[in-house]
Amino acid sequence: MPKSLDQDTIILCRSCDLAVQRRALPSNVRALCPRCHTALYDVPYCSVNGMLALCIAAILFYIPANFLPVLEIHFLGSIRATTVYESAVAVWVQGYWIVAVAVIAAAVIAPGLLILSILLQIIIVKRRLHSDFWQQTYRRLLKNHGLLSQLSMLEIYVISFLVAAFNLSDFSDIYLGMGTFCFGMLFLVILFLQREYNLEHMWRMVHEE
């Protein structure tokens, strides 16, 4: 990959534009900007195969997490259950579509797209797809990665199961369904996937002619 010398040794802080000299770092150490303490870089520790494994695990959990019941209520002999997807629909039906869109974007769409985006990136890197079309796609995926990871809020959803369950335990018996387990696992897998993923590192894999 052709690169000029100063690109390798000097970096600019993204928050305050200070020029910092890049130095070799031991693993698990993060370089902070000396002026504004924004995280600058760390040793990229992303193994493409590890990410692929996590991606596949995430996809396996994604489907049951969204379509199996997460919360069950037993009330006077009748059982009601809801899935993540249905909960958003229920709010939409009540006329609060902004809330519904926020819920479905943060809990269903963004995590799903995030997994698919990383999977596609891995495939492009692993299969060395260097044609213009794939490199364009790769760039587009990387550009939108920040947005997707900011939008997916699985950890908050996991906490909200508990809050909702405790909230409702006043009125009736609450059971957490199989969906909750899958959703919890999905959250864990994505947590590790994002730990492994390094955007800067992925950018460096852009194939330049």
Partner: protein, 196 residues
């Protein structure tokens, strides 16, 4: 040299497009301050209906009660669920208010060159960026509750007007933080030549 706003690649200031991701190069986004202010003010206005109006409507054996964010938390405290109450209080009252106040301080500091330590402002900004997502908690809880509790007159939960306002507050504050080009703060620092 300047950073590409999208992929953080280093480019010459004279370049029109980033050599790596082909997006347009903008050394500074001067408009971002104004955009950020606009989003923040809208969010601050919406924060009032979000807190005054009820956010959920609960029918229990024919009796309808409306809950605002605050009375919901009071209920939790009364039913001895203090830890849950603390989580909900942090997510739906503390975080939005702190975020709006924090961003307002941050933006005034840039706009009027206030002599506040830039380092402290930056730490605050990172906290705001990170913690802002947690406000979504309340919306998730509402959605789950509404979906699972619908048994007509016996027990029924519905969202109420504040839910939309609250959703917009979260959305707009997140955008306000994202839109802002934090390098503007440090540029002013260099102009003023103060050392904190």
């Amino acid at each position: 040299m300047t950073l590409c706003g999208t992929c953080r690649n280093i480019n010459a200031i004279s370049d029109a497009r980033c050599s790596r991701c082909y997006s347009k190069i903008q050394p500074r986004n001067e408009q971002s301050l104004q955009q950020s202010w606009a989003l923040l003010i809208t969010a601050a206005i919406l924060l009032i209906p979000a807190n005054i109006y009820p956010i959920t409507m609960l029918t229990n054996q024919g009796k309808v009660t409306y809950d605002t964010i605050f009375t919901g938390i009071v209920h939790l405290v009364h039913s001895d669920m203090i830890p849950i109450a603390i989580i909900v209080f942090t997510a739906s009252i503390l975080v939005p208010w702190l975020k709006i106040a924090g961003l307002a301080i941050y933006l005034t500091a840039i706009s009027f060159n206030l002599p506040i330590s830039k380092k402290k402002l930056m730490v605050g900004f990172h906290i705001i960026e990170w913690i802002g997502r947690w406000s979504m908690l309340d919306l998730f809880v509402i959605a789950l509750t509404v979906a699972v509790v619908n048994m007509g007159q016996l027990l029924d939960a519905k969202p109420a007007p504040a839910a939309t306002a609250f959703a917009l507050v979260i959305l707009l504050t997140q955008l306000a933080a994202k839109v802002l080009d934090t390098r503007l703060l440090w540029d002013r620092l260099e102009k003023n030549n103060d050392t904190n």
